[in-house]
């Protein structure tokens, strides 16, 4: 299980491939991998967004994410979990968050991946500030509904 807070851009698919290769205990045992990737869009709530700044609470963010991954691992008998979340300056098309879960069967991987994402969106201490094309900036105040 890994929780990574990253201040630089990352390649989600290459990272996934490398992460999986380094987990020999998965060999032949995982039938299911569910992945969610959140990516920065260039629009939000009707406005064009040119850049974003992602703030977090160092220490608490990691602690909270580890807690929800541990909980999901127990609840769904996961074989492996990876969460990567960007902080700092982010540009359109940059990956923001990657959640990946590995399990024997698909039900567990799907449910765990979504539960981790929903908890992350509603409870993990991250905050987005958008820089609009107009020059204005603003804190994002709410997320879209997950269910």
């Amino acid at each position: 299980m890994s929780v990574i807070i990253l201040a630089q851009p990352f390649d989600p698919w290459q990272t996934l491939a490398e992460y999986q290769q380094k987990k020999p205990h998965l060999d032949g045992k995982f039938g299911a991998t569910a992945v969610f990737l959140g990516t920065m869009r260039d629009f939000n709530e009707g406005d064009n967004v040119s850049q974003m700044f992602l703030e977090h609470y160092p220490g608490m963010t990691e602690k909270h994410l580890e807690k929800i991954c541990t909980q999901a691992t127990e609840d769904h008998a996961l074989l492996e979990t990876l969460v990567i979340h960007r902080v700092g300056e982010i540009n359109p098309n940059d990956p923001i968050v990657l959640v990946a879960t590995w399990s024997s069967h698909r039900k567990e991987a799907f449910e765990a991946c979504r539960e981790i994402m929903e908890d992350l969106k509603s409870r993990a201490p991250f905050w987005k500030k958008e820089q609009l094309n107009s020059g204005e900036d603003r804190w994002v105040e709410k997320n879209t509904k997950g269910y």
Binding site: H64, V97, W127, K128, W139
Partner: protein, 94 residues
Amino acid sequence: MFSVLNYGEAEVIVGIRVKFFASMRDLIGDDRELDADIVQQQDLKTADDVWNFCAQDKQRPANVLIAVNMDYVDGQTEVKDGDEVAFFPPVTGG
């Protein structure tokens, strides 16, 4: 009202470390180095007291979130010397 006391080489924190994040920092007008925000005040018993002391006349938004030692709590939670208390708006990561 804010200070870090140094005794020899070891940093000893006497008081409550307070942090504000995102729009809550803007509201408080807090442009100090946050890690140095140690409140030394004997009569702060709860997280609510800490907010009131730091925010002074600024009303606390209803949706503010509070963490003590990086766990979510409510405003009635007791705090003591050495604790870290954080106030922040609803989270918007992911």
